[in-house]
Symmetry: C2
Subunit: 212 residues, 2 copies
């Protein structure tokens, strides 16, 4: 297909497609004449992935390059590709690495060992869990974090459902798109469902008792 059709089918404007081509995010099409190129379904899938990374994942061009580089490395493992996508969708927390941090990190290490999880201690997700414990303690709500195991067990069930979905997608760009959509929309879904569950549990336990 020509660039006009690629544009209408993907919903991405021609100037934006040309920008992605110049930035090397989208591979060149097959030249059919001096000024015209032919694009195929692989280009369409790659464009959809880039849009998901931008619109849903909120990634910078540099971060998108990292994700696509992993996706395009033939000998790269699927697990590494997924991890690269996850890292680039996540924020690195910005707290000092002091003794409070070190203690919170020990708690997270203990949790991960209790649950039998194999995770990367340098990942942003790990750092974020530690950062939450530090923040909760500083706000003197540290006791709340003793529910960590309940949260972790709930997340195991969620992750199993997520991997069921993602691992069923054969093609790498489509799988990555599923990861980005699933991760970011999934964050919003889980937090919203948690609030609905709070509402319901609140009704169940508190009914309409007046406060003092």
């Amino acid at each position: 297909m020509r660039i006009k059709e690629l544009s209408s089918r993907s919903g991405v404007s021609v100037p934006t497609i040309k920008y992605y081509l110049r930035e090397g995010l989208l591979p060149a099409g097959e030249l059919v004449s001096k000024n015209q190129a032919n694009y195929d379904d692989a280009h369409l899938r790659r464009l959809r992935l880039i849009r998901a990374l931008v619109d849903i994942g909120g990634l910078t061009i540099a971060a998108i390059r990292d994700v696509l580089a992993a996706a395009d490395t033939p000998e790269e493992t699927v697990r590494k590709i997924l991890y690269t996508a996850q890292e680039n969708i996540s924020v690195r927390p910005d707290l000092p690495r002091d003794e409070v941090w070190a203690e919170a990190e020990r708690n997270v290490a203990d949790l991960v060992e209790r649950r039998g999880w194999q995770v990367n201690h340098d990942s942003r997700a790990w750092q974020t869990v530690v950062a939450v414990l530090v923040s909760a303690r500083e706000l003197e709500h540290g006791v709340w974090t003793h529910k960590l195991d309940i949260y972790a067990e709930a997340c195991e069930r969620i992750a199993a459902a997520d991997l069921d979905y993602v691992a069923g997608i054969e093609e790498v760009d489509a799988m990555l798109e599923g990861v980005v959509v699933g991760t970011v929309l999934g964050d919003t879904l889980v937090t919203a469902l948690r609030r609905l569950a709070h509402q319901s549990e609140s009704v169940r336990r508190l009914g309409d008792d007046k406060h003092e």
Copy 2:
């Protein structure tokens, strides 16, 4: 205590405390002379709550007024107070209320009925769940949302732990602070633990298999 001590104990600057007093967020202290007032532990707790609402909850002054008004209404139910706090911490999604929305909303209504949840169909949390379904379908990842029941069940467990914590706090301002901290930090914690669980599940299922 005088305003200087209130400031040092709360970590809030004197000018900011005076601003909260002018805005009516903080009740006036007991006047001991023309220019000096005495503050007590209730002022300290109220200040801590306001800071949590601002720093953690990201609320506007108007939103904080709504939450505090509910907290200060003697005949208001605890459940309503919690709900008011939740609404003001949440964003109202901005999608058109069309037939796609209506169908997604029916799916959410069915889910809530299956789980036996008592929730508010006008709440921001409800609208957000519907918005996620709409977005996922528009991205042609609608099938992923068939995992809704698994997510909902996981959130029930999380909500039970959250309510255990919050319902155990007697004093209203401290309870609300627990709700704000628990809700917002809890969002960050759940999403980060979900990513760690993804990492671990990914290792478990995919090991180091190379992709095509």
